[in-house]
Structures are given as structure tokens and as C-alpha cells.
Symmetry: C2
Subunit: 417 residues, 2 copies
């Protein structure tokens, strides 16, 4: 692969170059990283993708916990990266600050909300980047840009110093081009060592998740699954989502119930976290962000308690189905990245982009599971991720599995574009 270096300016990934030296030597010596601009870097404003937020908030007085951990392990921060406004999008097209480059599919969006972090890594400007993932904001951009993206088990990585969005789902995640770098950085923010060897249990393919994907994505999955079976030395076992959520086996339901359950709880939490500021500060949102916040503002919150009960029931269902060393496989996203400037509504019909994408990402969200998106698929000449998920708390195991897959060639280092 011919390496054409993209400049930071060409990528449009950074809102601010903010160099911060490591505070100690450690396992991340020599690596550079970038930080999504909903995460604090001391002395800098945390702008959260909106000019009015930036204007109405003071600078951060301390590094977020995750940033402090990375600096203390030898990482060198290069800057703050763009985010969708208040992290509320999967697209990465910021009305105020533009759309960072997806270098493998420049006519397509990078994905959001961690759009600058994914672009900085995919463009080769940093070795890894810190993003956040509430409803897919690390996993979907990683899928779109053809790199690795990791969402941890809920609660496993500190969100201290991170803008609260929907705290029942908020996580700090990571992007990298290489499995080894992802594993090293993840071990630091997880505050634990990874196992050297792993033994994988049963590997399940979630049938309804596959059915949600475009035919081209489904077609690309087949050979990737065969390679995975060879790499792991075991067959992939089909599993119905109905065996985890306990819903009636109704062919038309697919994973709509996961999408709806996730949205009702998430939207309630988002409005609780941000509604008072939105109401008081009257920020100049772009049209898509304004529409998103109207959904949260107008939600009949009396529907939320029943959704929270479904969330917990599904979460227990997943936990009871998965042993500690089992894996789930799904396509990370239903399609390659949407084309720039195309319209996508969160409350669109079930066949449209958001309901399908959020149904897929809701599996880890509702289940509180760790998930890693791997750049293994191509559809319509653009990247799509295939994801491995593990049981809640099995982050170190999952990262070690991906490391092992990289060592035997199943997951390849992604070049600098």
C-alpha cells in the first residue's frame, strides 16, 4: 500500500491542536493520541461540538481520568478532535465545524459522534484516539473508516471528566489501526493487564443482526466468518436474539424491540443530562441536532419505566446465555458509511439507517457488553466492520482474542492512508 500522508488540516479531525507531554514513562511510550472534545484536557475548553457550549463553560481544570491514565503510561496527546454536537449523532457531520475526512471513502461520512477521533486515527495522524460510545459513537465510525474500535463494558472505564450524555449507556472507547496498539491502550484505561493466552468458548452469530444488514454486507460476512472459523479452529453457531431477549419468535420483530428499548431509555437520560442547558442556553443547533433534541424533549417519559424493565430483562437474558469466554458476532453497522449530506432520521421507518444501526449497537448497549469492531468487510467499495462481543466484564479476554487474531493474520494492521 502506497502511503500518502494526510495532513491534520486535510483531515479536518482536530478542533484544537493541544500538545500534552506524557507525565511518566510506561507501556504507551512513543505513541501519540487524540481526545474527543467532550473529554477534558486540563487548561482547554471542552467544547462538545457546539459553539454555545464552548462559550458558556469554563476551561477544564484537570485532565479527564482516562486522559490522565494515558499520559501517565507514556502517551503523548496531540489535540482535541471534533465531535457531533453534544455527541448526539452517528454521522459525524458537524453543522458548525464540518465533516472530518473518511480517508477510505472520502465521499462518505466518517461516522459519529467520535468523528474527529476516528478520522485522526484513520488518516494516520495519531496512533490511537479516545472517543466515547453511548449508542455506537466509536463502533460505527470504526466500521465506516475501516479501523478498529472498542467499546468497553459499561462502567469499566472511568467517565470522570467526560460530558454526561446518557449515563446508563455512556462509555469511553478507543480507536486504533493495529490490534496491538488497541490492546496496549485499552489495558491502560481499563487499569488491568490482559491475559497472554485465551481459550475461546462458543462463538455465536446473531441471526437477526445479520438479517438487518444490507445484502452486500451479508455477502461479505460469509467469507469473513469462514476465515474466523479457521483462525479460531471452531465453527460459528447461529443464535437467535429471541433466545436472549425472551420475546415471542415473531418474524417481523427482528431487533426493533432492541432499538425501541434503547431509544426510550437513552432519550430520557439525554434530556435529563442536557435538557436544562438546552432550554436555558438556546444553542444554535444544526437542523439534525435540533431534530434529535426535539425527540428527547417531546418524549412521553411515562413510557420509560416499562422500557427500563425491558432493558434489564434483556440484559439478564444476554448474561444468562453467555459463558465468560463465549463470543457473539454481528455486523457492526447495517451498511457502509452513508454518503455525505444524505438525510437520516432517528425516527425513520424500520428499514432506514438509524433504526437498523441502533438495533445493532443496542445489543452491547443494553447488555452492558464489551464490543470490538474489526475492519474485515467491504461492501459497495467501502469498509464495514465485523464485531466481536463478549460477556460483561470480559474486556481483557476480548482484547486478547483480537490480539491473537491479529497475530495469526486474521486482523491486519491498517495502513496510514
Amino acid at each position: 500500500m502506497v502511503e500518502q500522508r494526510i495532513t491534520a488540516e486535510q483531515s479536518g479531525a482536530f478542533i484544537e491542536m493541544a500538545a500534552v507531554a506524557p507525565t511518566a514513562s510506561g507501556p504507551l511510550d512513543g505513541l501519540t493520541f487524540a481526545v474527543k472534545d467532550i473529554i477534558d484536557v486540563a487548561g482547554h475548553k471542552t467544547g462538545c461540538g457546539n459553539p454555545r457550549w464552548r462559550a458558556t463553560h469554563p476551561p477544564a481544570v484537570a485532565h479527564a481520568v482516562c486522559v490522565e491514565q494515558v499520559l501517565n503510561a507514556g502517551g503523548r496527546c496531540l489535540g482535541k478532535t471534533h465531535t457531533d454536537e453534544l455527541a448526539f449523532s452517528l454521522l459525524g457531520e458537524n453543522h458548525h465545524y464540518g465533516t472530518p475526512l473518511n480517508p477510505k471513502a472520502p465521499e462518505r461520512v466518517p461516522g459519529g459522534s467520535s468523528c474527529g477521533s476516528v478520522s485522526a486515527v484513520a488518516c494516520g495522524l495519531v496512533d490511537f484516539a479516545i472517543g466515547s460510545d453511548t449508542g455506537g459513537s466509536v463502533r460505527v465510525p470504526a466500521s465506516n473508516c475501516g479501523i478498529l474500535g472498542y467499546r468497553p463494558s459499561h462502567g469499566a472505564i472511568s467517565v470522570g471528566g467526560v460530558m454526561p450524555f446518557a449515563p446508563g449507556f455512556d462509555t469511553i472507547g478507543l480507536f486504533a489501526r493495529k490490534a496491538g496498539v488497541l490492546a496496549r491502550a485499552a489495558a491502560v484505561v481499563l487499569a488491568q493487564d490482559l491475559p497472554v493466552t485465551v481459550e475461546v468458548g462458543t462463538v455465536y452469530l446473531v441471526k437477526e443482526a445479520v438479517a438487518l444488514a444490507d445484502p452486500e454486507v451479508q455477502a461479505a460476512l460469509t467469507p469473513a466468518l469462514r476465515r474466523l472459523e479457521n483462525a479460531l479452529g471452531k465453527n460459528v453457531v447461529p443464535l437467535s436474539i429471541r433466545e436472549m431477549d425472551g420475546e415471542p419468535d415473531d418474524g417481523t420483530l427482528a431487533m426493533r424491540n432492541w432499538h425501541e428499548t434503547f431509544c426510550l431509555v437513552q432519550w430520557s437520560e439525554i434530556w435529563s443530562s442536557l435538557g436544562a442547558w438546552v432550554t436555558e442556553a438556546r444553542p444554535d443547533f444544526g437542523p439534525a441536532t435540533a431534530a434529535n433534541f426535539e425527540l428527547t424533549r417531546n418524549l412521553d417519559r411515562r413510557r420509560m419505566p416499562a422500557a427500563a424493565r425491558r432493558r434489564e430483562a434483556y440484559c439478564r437474558g444476554v448474561a444468562s446465555r453467555l459463558a465468560a469466554n463465549d463470543l457473539l458476532i454481528i455486523p457492526t453497522a447495517p451498511t457502509p458509511a452513508p454518503h455525505k449530506g444524505s438525510k437520516h432520521q432517528r425516527d425513520g421507518d424500520a428499514a432506514s439507517y438509524y433504526p437498523r444501526a441502533l438495533a445493532l449497537t443496542a445489543l452491547a448497549g443494553i447488555g452492558r457488553l464489551p464490543q470490538i469492531s474489526l475492519p474485515l468487510l467491504q461492501a459497495d467499495s467501502a469498509p464495514v466492520g465485523m464485531s466481536l462481543l463478549a460477556s460483561r466484564g470480559q474486556d481483557a479476554f476480548l482484547l486478547a482474542v483480537v490480539n491473537a487474531l491479529a497475530e495469526n493474520g486474521m486482523v491486519q494492521d491498517q495502513g496510514v492512508q
Copy 2:
């Protein structure tokens, strides 16, 4: 017991009477509750115990998720209750708003930071109250006031609409005088049903936790443990904390490492959550709160990453030691409630109040475990709690155990004082 009704005014529990009718009929029909003033009730300011916070923040636009759940289950809200300033104390003596009444020991503090919620319940003004517990702010007040207090597994109850403090430890907890009321309210905010019958595994007594308590508390534990053994039909098994944290068995270490580990991570997160506001708004803190925030401001944050690694190692150690239906027993607090107006410093020597209290509460905090404090002990003519802890995620089991203990007379309903 002669019931002498205490008025809301006498209790000093409420910062604002804010009646909110139920939004539906459900399992909490007929029950009244109160809400700690770091938790949103729509249309009311969330004052967080500090006048400057109240002045610089808009009213809440929505009920917090937990409040919405309770209203939707039939609960009737009577008002917002006092909290220590920004929830940063275990004492309950608010410099600006005063000290709510501890009706069982009026010369002693109620405990904090959920001081108004515990007082409202202990004084019989509401059936239950919602508090928050990061470092003991439900468990310690419950111990002090002789009622039941429940801290959930971390992440099990939504903190949407709650002031972020130290998100790696923040939880929403509950107070009640009766185990049955606690169980019904907890099931609503946990969004799950409780089991009807339970089978208890091994019941461990944490030796070092007992050793941290005053001799009078230790003496009171002995008959309470005997009654518990009779009620459960099994012997309590001594367990060393060293078998969970893996530290060398050094007689002088006791649980100081739990206290230190907890404080380093918690203080880092607190300053990340609140430092920018404190720095910009220059609030008029009382002396104890000002001293607490100076500790977080002046912390050498480079010490935090190693503490976070210890936190995760201890958490895994606890998880690997406890089966799903095992219980741990500790005294909730090392002493009865301190006397009002006495001085207690967070960075005092190891024998002083805070280091001992926080070492005890750090077990559930670091382990992410559920804990229920039961009003089973008396020392120096004042209440002290005995706590049951269970494995992470075993909240429903733990609540059902306490329900069963109440049904056979081990845990008695606490009268209205």
C-alpha cells in the same frame, strides 16, 4: 413504642416541599417519598446543598429517571431534601441550611450527604426517600439514624438527572423504615422483580472490618450475628480482607489500603466533575466543604492511575471470592453518629472517624457491590447499622434476603419517632 409525630419543620429535612402526584397506579400506590436535592424534580431547581449552585443553574426540565420510575409506580413525592454541599460529606451538617434531625439521637448528626432524606424517613414524614451514595452517603446515614439504607450495585439504577460527583462510584440509593417498603421501592428503580424465595450460600464476616469498629460496636455485633445465624440457619464464616485484595497479610494494614485506593480515585473524579464550576463560580463553601475540595484540587493526579489499577484488582478479587448467593457482613460504620459540631477531617490519622468509615464503605464502592444497612446494633445508646453485602448484580437476591429476615423477625419495622 409511643409515636410522637415530628413535623417537617422540626425535622429540618426538607429544603423545599414539592408535591408531585403519581403519574400512574402501581406497586408503590399509597406510599410517599422524598428526593435528595442533587436529584432532579421537574420544574424545581436542583440546589445541591449550595446557594451559589442554586443561583447559577436553571430549574430541572424533567424528573430524574429514578423519580420518574417511582411516580410511575404510584409513589407520591412530598419534597426535596437537604444534602451536604455538593454531596461531599458523611456528616449531614450543612453550613448554609443546618443539620436535619436524627430523631433517635438528637444530639448527634444524621449523617450525610443524604441527610435530609434519612431524616425525613427516620422522622416518619415519608415512607421512603431517594438518596445518593458515592462513598457511603446512604449507608452511613441509615446506620446513624437506625433505619434501612440500600446502596445498589454500581450501574444498576440510572443516575440520569443526578448531579455527577464521582461517576465510577456514584449510585442512587434508598432509605426506608420497613424492609417490605424498601424492597418494593427498590424493585421499581432496579426495573426488575425480586425473587420470592432465596437460598443463601456462605455468609462471611469480614474480620478487618470488625476490627475497625469501636469496642462497643464490636460487642453489639456478637449477639446480632448469633441472631442472624439462627435466622439463616447457618454459621457465619470469618474471612480476611487479605483473601480478597491479595495484599500481604500485614497486621497493621487493616483496610487502610481500601480507604486510600478509594480516595485517590474518588477525589480525581470529583475534581473532574466539579472542579471547573468550583474554580469559576467561587462558591461560598462552609469550612469543611472548602477543606474537602482543597484535597481534591491539590491531589497529585499522577498517583491516580496506580490507584485505579488497585481498585480493579481488588474488585476482581472480591468477585472471584464470592459466589452469586454468598453474603458479606460488616458493621456499616465504625461508631455511632458523631456528635453535632465535632470536627472530622478526611485526611485525619487512621484511627479517626473518616478513614475508618471510608475504609468500611469502600468495600462496596471498590467492589461495585450492593449493600444494605440494617438497624440491628446499639452502641453508646445510639444506633449503628450492620450491613449485608452481595455479589455485583445480586441486588434482587440481597433485597429478598432482607425481606426474609424481616418476615422472621430478625429485622424489625422501625417505628415513627
